[in-house]
Symmetry: C2
Subunit: 224 residues, 2 copies
Amino acid sequence: MKNEKNKKMPETNIPEPTVRRMPSYLSHLKILKSKGELYVSAPQIAKNLNLEATQVTKDLSYTKIVGKTRVGYEISELITVLSEFLGFHQIKDAFLVGAGNLGEALIKYEGFKDFGLKIVAAFDINEKIVGKKIVGVDILHLDEFRNLAEKMNVVLGIITTPASEAQSVADLMVGWGIKAIWNFSPTTIKVPEGVIVQNTSIYSNLAVIFNKLNNQFLQQEQTI
Amino acid sequence: MKNEKNKKMPETNIPEPTVRRMPSYLSHLKILKSKGELYVSAPQIAKNLNLEATQVTKDLSYTKIVGKTRVGYEISELITVLSEFLGFHQIKDAFLVGAGNLGEALIKYEGFKDFGLKIVAAFDINEKIVGKKIVGVDILHLDEFRNLAEKMNVVLGIITTPASEAQSVADLMVGWGIKAIWNFSPTTIKVPEGVIVQNTSIYSNLAVIFNKLNNQFLQQEQTI
DNA sequence: CAGTGTGAAGTTGTTCACAGCA
DNA sequence: TGCTGTGAACAACTTCACACTG
């Protein structure tokens, strides 16, 4: 699996938690900009997003942006830097497989384009929805996927099928040379090394919420 | 069990990453069970879910389940233990605000009931959808929320509104005494201490994917 | 042996402490 | 003084090493 002992590479990798926080910085900055603000400091961002100021500073330090002492960062510049850093500035085409409720919601999702993603086609096997269009995106039969994928320059595949279909769809995507898979099904999928998989399991979030609720409840019991 | 740091109470808190992985164990176990399997070992689970065996062992050790040497864990028992541990065994009622595309997808989402969640009502302000029913769930006007919340025993609020509305909806929910908020809007919301917030930003996942894609690309360039 | 279970080591991420700056 | 920026201390999480078990 992981046999790369020789870490000679520069390893520009920045902490994943930092990467996860960056989009929320970006969203927040865009709101500030729309309000006419020009500068923002790390402590301000931290306060607004319920974070520690030093964490914001450290996160931003991974980009090459420099702030002005006692003033903060120039908002427009920070937006540009973060967008480029995250790769949101250049639009990447994606295919989506599984045009059910969740798939439809994603296709309709406003704002993906601001974050560098464009769903160019969707696929399903359900004859009731194949042939339809959702906000301009064609729902095609899965069989058509192969040819299209070769013609177009699509790096990302989104899986919004039921769990039972996820692995076989992933296999198809890998066969078509897709570089990254965003898996919304509640199954973990297996792919060859070199293909990126991002599992977005909604149940993980539920588990965290319930666990916190439970801990809080237990603590209350104890303090009584 | 452990008592080295006797400054505070035992504090049953288990690592959040562990909690996040548990639902995928559960899903996987259910599939195995449906295939008629009776026992499974940690290395097997690890292999299927692309994890390290010791990690699975450690994760499972936070529950009180004991495995049989050379055999593994009894699948049915493990499912029960994990479900209870995560609080998925008892159904919790939830309100959802923002019955747009994503909201509708969540309302229709099969399987929430298997994971302890039931959306009992949804709210919106859009007159076009207020009054409708989605798979048996009423879409009510936001104004009705207050009264209902008091009558029913709802602990969880789900926000699927646009970013601009998220904070005010959160404030309403807090006012109604909701204990935990699951926020799907791309904004970070602020709540008083004691209220649990789980932000599920779809953009964080995008950022991680793009960042990995980018790293891979850079590494390829270097190795050439 | 092939598995569980767990303290200890190792790695990663966060927070602190402080230097420098306007 | 209020902020940036960063090395160092600290905490959280993962992986290792090994004792134990049928």
